[in-house]
């Protein structure tokens, strides 16, 4: 029997991109999934140069030390997903675009976070990290946050951005992000954030280990969605669309500074 597109999870193991290009690629996939031109998609990617993303509702002036980022050549981009500012350097970053159908469409926002954190938790556990869900949007291990995610729902598609921290450079994190004292009142980021390196040592930087964790994430997302994995890249149309969105939205100060954009 021919498998329908709805039974497929496209897995894209992508190379490194600039910040605006990464955010544009995710948006192009969202549009393509919404038009039923692409199946549900998990894209795992890297950032070059390292980048800071801020949440949809955050303030470019108050939440990021933009001058420090500029000095060090760090990209700064506003995401279309809510949540907090992230310094992306040593991490596994993923985006998941799934049509809002079936189980995912009927659960509450909070429940969909729990549901879509579960594949990452399972993958981490298979790699020896005792991970647990921590509402709303965190995964914790060894008493600290090891993974965070943020969702948006647009055009009948759920897009989840997520990261798994391989290593954290607190000196850089505090140089680039402006963490208000109110945020750190409950222990401070240093106490609240952990990484695979902290919990499992040097293998966090081992390419073989990282690939293994990425593949387990893909397998677990496919299991959750009851889908078969199809390995493909972005379509030609998605690549063209991404370039347009990069130019008009994520590479544009009107969006990054003022949260204003005309989306396609």
């Amino acid at each position: 029997m021919r498998r329908e597109m709805s039974d497929m999870l496209r897995v894209i193991m992508d190379g490194p991109k600039r910040g605006a290009a990464n955010m544009a690629a995710d948006y192009a996939v969202l549009l393509s999934v919404s038009k039923n031109e692409s199946p549900a998609t998990l894209r795992i990617y890297r950032w070059r140069p390292p980048a800071v993303t801020i949440g949809y509702f955050q303030s470019m002036r108050d939440d990021v030390r933009r001058d420090e980022c500029e000095k060090d050549g760090i990209d700064v981009i506003r995401r279309i997903t809510g949540g907090g500012a992230v310094f992306h350097e040593h991490e596994i970053t993923y985006s998941l675009c799934v049509p809002l159908r079936g189980r995912i469409a009927v659960v509450s926002v909070l429940e969909s976070y729990r549901l879509l954190c579960s594949p990452v938790i399972a993958a981490l556990r298979q790699c020896g990290i005792d991970a647990h869900y921590s509402p709303v949007n965190d995964i914790v291990a060894g008493g600290g946050k090891i993974s965070g995610c943020a969702q948006t729902r647009r055009s009948g598609v759920l897009l989840q951005h997520g990261t798994i921290l391989l290593d954290v450079d607190f000196e850089k994190m505090f140089r680039y992000l402006n963490v208000p004292p109110e945020k750190s009142a409950d222990g401070g980021s240093r106490a609240r954030v952990t990484s695979i390196r902290t919990l499992a040592g040097g293998r966090a930087m081992d390419e073989h280990f990282i690939r293994g964790l990425e593949e387990r994430c893909a397998d677990e997302f496919a299991l959750l969605l009851d889908a078969d994995i199809a390995r493909q890249g972005l379509s030609g149309k998605e690549t063209e669309c991404a370039a347009e969105i990069e130019r008009d939205v994520f590479g544009n100060e009107r969006w990054n500074r003022e949260r204003k954009a005309t989306f396609l």
Binding site: G55, Y56, F57, Q58, S59, D62, D63, I80, G82, G83, G84, A85, V109, L110, V136, N137, A150, Q151, T152, R153, R154, P180, E182, K183, A185
Partner: protein, 92 residues
């Protein structure tokens, strides 16, 4: 009119920052930012606009916010009408 600001983090919620202007106890502009979630995201513009002309008084602000949230089917996570109202009243 100078802009007044407040930053709060209610227990179990995310960080919320407000910047407001008001004259004679009535809001003339409101801007909110933080690491919270709101669905659909563009609803933040509806809430910010709806608060213009409202008295800087917690119950009045909560009333307007709750009406807009329910009327427009807005979902909030990590922020609430109560904390937005409290932050606006605390702005200085």
């Amino acid at each position: 009119m100078t802009e007044l600001t407040a930053v709060i983090k209610a227990p179990g919620e995310k960080l919320l920052r407000v910047a407001v202007r008001h004259g004679g106890g009535v809001l003339s502009s409101v801007r909110m930012s933080g690491d919270f979630f709101m669905y659909p995201e563009e609803s933040i513009d509806i809430l910010e606009r709806a608060l213009v002309g409202v008295a800087v008084e917690e119950q009045a602000l909560i009333g307007v916010l709750e009406y807009e949230i329910s009327h427009n089917g807005i979902e909030l996570a990590g922020v609430s009408a109560a904390s937005i109202a409290r932050a606006i009243c605390a702005a200085k």
